[in-house]
Subunit: 591 residues, 2 copies
C-alpha cells in the first residue's frame, strides 16, 4: 500500500486526479483538480480486461487491458502489488525511457497525484499540456492497488505516442522515494524496465467449436528453469502411433501459475517426415547434448508469446497434423526470460492443442513472403533506417494461386537483429489496396503469430510486397542477407487457406545489376575494390568504402534494378517465373 | 443582400451557426445548432483588422484579418458586397479547389447555415467532423454583409489546412443558387478563384520615426491600365539634382481608390551609377519602345505586393540613396492584374518613400544567398518535388562578415516557374539553429519582401543554407539553372545591416563531379550519351534517358559531391574561397 509520511501513516491515501477541460476552440488547457477518494472495493472482473501481461520480472506490476475500437481507445487496468511512492507507466518508440509518453502516479508523502507526462531526451519529466491518460478509478484490494485508466489510440498532443497495430514497447518505473513534483522526476535515474505487447488485439469472432474436439497438451515435464537470464528449452513429444490426419482448430498457452513473468514465448514444431524416428530430448536447445536431428523439427504447428490469448483457426480451415506423410514427432521450445536469475523454479508450461478428426473444408498453409536469403540484398553500416523490399509478383501468384484465391488470416513477421519495421501490402493492377500486416515498432525479440484484423483475399495476379527497415548504426561493415544471426532476413510467414503448392514467394535484386553497382562505385570513387569474379558478394560489400553517395546509389539500385523471383512449390521445385522487372512505385493505400 | 425564396423575400436572413462542443476525451463531436439573428450594425473598425486584400478581381469580396499569436489563431472579416446564396472561403496547398479546407455559408432559400467543410479530390464538399472555423458574428451594413470568423493556425483535424509562415493560397467560390445541403455542393463546378497572401504577418514593433522625415511619392502618372490580363508597367522617375545621401526608413503603397484588385505588386528600382543619365519612359515594360538602358535599373529600393502593409527599417538602419556613387534615376514597375479585361481604368498607384537626411547608425544591405546561376544544378523532368540546396559556407562568412556579425531583418525568396518551396536556415558548429525564412507554399507569382518575425544574427563562421523544391511534372526535359524563364534559380535576397562587401554568397556542385555523373550514367545505362567536352552541360542533361536510377543518382551526387563556392564582394571581386567539401547533413532545428 502507499505510504504517507503524515501523522497517520496507516491511512488510505487520497488521490487527486488532474483532468483537463479541453477548451472550446482554444489551445489553452485549464486544469481542474478533482478530489477522489480511493475506494475499498473488489477487483474488477477479469473478463473486462481479457489481455494480461506482467510488466516486471517479479510480476509485482500486472497490466490487463481491453480495446474499444468504436471509441478508438485502450482501457488499462494496472495492478500494483507493492506500491511505494508512485509509478510511471507508458510507451516509447522502442522501449527507451527518453522521449516517452507516460502516465504518472506520484506521492509527495501526503497526497497522491495522477498526470499525463512526457520525458525529454535527457529523461526529465514534464506535464503534458493536454491530459490524454484519463484516470477512471483507483481501487484498493487485498492483492494491491488497481489503477484503471484510459488512453485514446491517437491524441493531438505531439508529445504523445500514437498507438498503432503491431508491437508496443511499454515501459514502467517505480518511485521509491516521495517526490514533490512531477518535474522533480528523471526517469533515467529510477528503477524500471520494458515489456513488449501487441496492444491493439484484433476483435475476432470466435468460431463455433465441434463436439468431437479433443485436446492434447504439449508441456514441459516439470523442468527446473535454469538460473540464467535467457534459456531456450527443448522438449520432444510424440503423437500416438497410427494417429490419423486431424485438424488443429485452436490452441492456447498453458503457463504454470507463478511463472507468468518467466515464460516469454513458446512454439510447437513438427519434425520432418523424412525421418522415421527422432530421439527423446529434454534440455536446453543450445546444449552440446542436444541430438543433431532435432534441427529437422522446424515446421511451426503453434506459437505463443506473452500477452497473446488462444489462437483460433477460421471456421473453414484447420492445420493438418497426423496421418501419412506427416511426422509423429513434435518439438516444444520454450523461451525462459529470467533476468533476476531466480533459482530452482519448476515449470510445466506448454501449449494445449484443440483438434478434431472431423476435417474442416480446407487445410491451412503457411507461405513465406519477402526476400530470398541471399547476400545480394545488403544494408550499409551506420544506417538508422535502411529499407529493403521483397516482392511476391503478379506473375508468380498468377501461376500458383487457385482462381478462387487464398485467404490470409494470420501473419508472423521475421527479421534478424537489425530489423526495426516490417510491413506487407497487397497490390492489384499496380495500386496498393490493403495492408496485410504492419509493425512500425517491430522487435526481433517479439515474434508472435498475429491474427489479422480482417482476412485478406489474394487472387491470381495480385502482388504482395514486404518491406523491412533496418538499423545498423552500431555496425562497422555491411550487413548482407543470409541465415547467420548477424546477417539479415526480411520475411512474413503468412497463414492462409486453402493450402496451395506455393510455399515461398520471394525476390532479390538481379545479380547482374549488383555487379554493375560494384563497378560503378569502384570507378566513381577511384578505388581499387577488387572486381575479380572469384571474390564473393559479401567480400565485395565489405570492401566498399561507405559514404553517402555509395549508400544512396545502392538504395537507388534496389529501387530500380530488375528482380530475380523465387516462386517455389512445396517440393522445392520452382514455378517457371524467374526474372521480373521491378514493379513501379505504387500509390499508397487509401489515397 | 441574401435572397430568400419564402413569402417575404425582403426580410433579413436568419443565420444558424453550427458550433461544436468538443467532447471531453472522446472523438465524437456533438453538433449544437444555435440560432443567431443577423444584426443591423456598423462595420467593425478597420484597425481591428489591419491586413486587407480583395479576393476577386472585381473586389466584391474583401478580406481583412488580424493574427493573434498568443491564441495561435487568425481572425477573419469577410465583406460580401453582393451576397447571393452563399459563399465558400478557404485554403489549399496551392490554390486548388480540390482537397481544400473551407468555411461555407450557404442558404437553402429559407435559412442560412455556416460550417467547416473540406473538398475531396473530386471537389465534392463534406462537413468536417471537427468544426474549426468558428463564426463570431454576421453583421449587415450598407456596403454588404460582414462575416467575422476565426481559425486556429493548427487544428487536429487531418482534413484541415495548417496555417504556417509564408504564402497561403486562399480560395473563394460564390453560390449562385440555393443549395439544400453542404453535400450538394461541388466546388469545381462553381464560380470562384484564388488569392495569395501572407496570412501570418509578423508582429513588428514600429520604430520611432524622426521629426525631419520627408516623403517622396514614386507613382504612375495617371496611366490607363491596359485592357489585358497581365501588364508590367514601367515609369522612370528622377531624384532632385544634388540630392545628398539619405536613408529610406519606411515606405508604403499608394493605391488609387477603386484599383485595389488590379494593382498586384509594385517595385522601385535604382538605376546603375555607371550611367550619367537615363531616358524618360512611361509604358509597358515589354514594349519594343522601351529604351534598352532601363535594363540597368535593377537595384531594389522598395517592393510591395497585395496584402502587404508599410515596410519599416529597423531603427538602427536605413537604406541609403542619393549622394555620390548613387544614380539619380529610379524605375517604378507596376504589375497590373486585370483578368476581367476592364477597359479605360486610370491609375496613379505607386510607392511613398519616407526618408531622412539624419543618417541612422547603419546602412542596410542586400545579400544574395542560394545557388549560383549555372546549368550544373539541374532538375530532372517529371519530378513532383525535387530539392536543390545552395550554401553560404562558414569559410565565406568567416572571411567576409565583421566580428560583430550582421542582422538579417527581411527576406525576399526567388525562383522561376518550377519553384514550390524555399527555406533558408542558419547553422552554427554543424547544427541547424534557426530558420531564417521559410515558405512551404511558395509561388513564383507572389514574391514579397517579408519582414522576419525575429531578426537573425549571423556571425563569422556561421552557415546559411537555402533549399528550394521544384515541380517539373509538366516538363519533358531537364530544367537547368540559369537566367531564362524556363531555367531555374534558387535565391534568397536577405536584407540586413550593417552593409558589408559581401553581396553574394552562393554555391553550386563541383563541375568535375558532375562530369563523373555523366560518365557513370552513360556506363550504367549502356547508352551512347555524348561525353565529348565540347558538348555543353545543358546538352548533356537534355540527352540523359531519365529513369528513377539516373534521377536518384543525381540526387545522391548533389548530396555528396564537393561544392564550388561563390563568395563575392560588391565589386564582383571574389573573396578567396572557392572549393568546399559539402557540409554534413545537419540535425534539424529544435531537435
Amino acid at each position: 500500500s502507499m505510504q504517507t509520511s503524515g501523522s497517520n501513516p496507516c491511512s488510505c491515501p487520497s488521490f487527486k486526479l488532474r483532468e483537463v477541460a479541453s477548451m472550446y476552440f482554444t489551445m489553452i488547457a485549464v486544469f481542474l483538480v478533482i478530489l477522489v477518494v480511493a475506494l475499498q472495493g473488489s477487483a474488477p472482473r477479469g473478463s473486462d480486461f481479457p489481455y494480461k501481461v506482467p510488466l516486471d520480472p517479479q510480476g509485482l506490476l500486472e497490466l490487463s487491458w481491453n480495446v474499444s475500437y468504436p471509441e478508438q481507445a485502450v482501457n488499462f487496468q494496472l495492478l500494483i502489488r507493492d506500491l511505494q511512492f508512485g509509478l510511471l507507466f507508458g510507451m516509447s518508440d522502442r522501449g527507451e525511457f527518453e522521449n516517452a509518453d507516460l502516465a504518472v502516479l506520484w506521492s509527495d508523502g501526503h497526497n497522491s497525484y495522477f498526470g499525463d507526462a512526457w520525458s525529454d531526451s535527457r529523461g526529465q519529466l514534464h506535464m503534458d499540456s493536454q491530459q490524454d491518460y484519463q484516470l477512471l478509478a483507483a481501487r484498493r484490494a487485498p492483492e494491491g492497488l488497481y489503477l484503471l485508466f484510459r488512453r485514446p489510440f491517437s491524441t493531438c498532443d505531439p508529445k504523445d505516442y500514437l498507438i498503432e497495430d503491431g508491437t508496443v514497447h511499454l515501459i514502467y518505473g517505480i518511485l521509491e522515494k516521495p517526490v514533490h513534483s512531477l518535474q522533480a522526476i528523471n526517469i533515467s535515474a529510477i528503477h524500471g524496465g520494458l515489456q513488449r505487447v501487441q496492444l491493439l488485439k484484433p476483435n475476432i469472432t470466435i468460431p463455433e467449436l465441434p463436439r468431437d474436439m479433443k485436446t492434447m497438451e504439449i508441456t514441459a515435464p516439470n523442468v527446473v528453469i535454469p538460473s540464467q537470464e535467457t534459456t531456450y528449452w527443448c522438449y520432444m513429444a510424440e503423437l500416438p502411433e497410427d494417429f490419423s490426419k486431424h485438424h488443429i482448430i485452436m490452441y492456447e498457452p498453458v503457463v504454470t501459475a507463478g511463472n507468468e513473468a518467466l515464460v516469454h514465448h513458446m512454439e510447437v514444431f513438427q519434425c520432418a517426415a523424412e525421418f522415421d524416428s527422432f530421439p527423446h530430448y529434454n534440455g536446453p536447445c543450445d546444449s552440446k547434448m542436444k541430438p543433431e536431428r532435432l534441427n529437422y523439427c522446424r515446421h511451426v504447428l503453434a506459437a505463443w508469446a506473452m500477452g497473446a490469448q488462444a489462437f483460433y483457426y477460421p471456421e473453414e480451415a484447420g492445420l493438418a497434423f497426423g496421418g501419412p506423410g506427416s511426422s509423429r514427432y513434435l518439438r516444444l521450445e520454450i523461451h525462459y526470460h529470467n533476468p533476476l536469475v531466480i533459482k530452482g523454479r519448476r515449470d510445466s508450461s506448454g501449449i494445449r492443442l484443440y483438434y478434431t478428426a472431423t476435417l474442416r473444408r480446407h487445410d491451412a498453409g503457411i507461405m513465406e513472403l519477402g526476400l530470398v536469403y541471399t547476400p545480394v540484398m545488403a544494408i550499409p553500416p551506420g544506417e538508422d533506417s535502411f529499407v529493403l523490399t521483397g516482392y511476391c509478383t503478379d506473375k508468380c501468384t498468377q501461376l500458383a494461386l487457385p482462381a478462387a484465391g487464398i485467404r490470409i488470416f494470420a501473419s508472423q513477421l521475421h527479421t534478424h537483429l537489425a530489423g526495426r519495421k516490417v510491413v506487407t501490402v497487397l497490390a492489384r493492377d499496380g495500386r496498393e489496396r490493403q495492408v496485410v500486416n504492419s509493425d512500425g515498432h517491430y522487435s526481433p525479440h517479439f515474434q508472435e503469430i498475429r491474427m489479422l484484423k480482417e482476412v485478406v483475399a489474394v487472387f491470381p495476379g495480385d502482388e504482395l510486397i514486404t518491406t523491412c527497415t533496418y538499423n545498423t548504426e552500431e555496425r562497422s561493415r555491411a550487413t548482407v542477407g543470409g541465415f547467420g544471426i548477424l546477417e539479415e532476413m526480411c520475411v512474413n510467414y503468412v497463414h492462409y487457406y486453402p493450402q496451395t503448392q506455393l510455399e515461398l514467394c520471394k525476390s532479390a535484386v538481379d545479380p547482374g545489376y549488383l555487379h554493375r553497382y560494384f563497378n560503378l562505385v569502384n570507378r566513381f570513387n577511384d578505388d581499387e575494390v577488387c572486381m575479380c569474379p572469384q571474390v564473393s558478394v559479401p567480400q565485395q560489400f565489405f570492401s566498399i568504402p561507405w559514404n553517402t553517395f555509395n549508400r544512396d546509389v545502392l538504395k537507388s539500385l534496389y529501387g530500380f534494378a530488375p528482380i530475380s523471383m523465387h516462386c517455389n512449390k512445396s517440393s522445392a521445385v520452382r514455378f517457371p517465373v524467374r526474372m521480373a522487372s521491378l514493379p513501379k512505385k505504387l500509390p499508397a493505400v487509401g489515397k
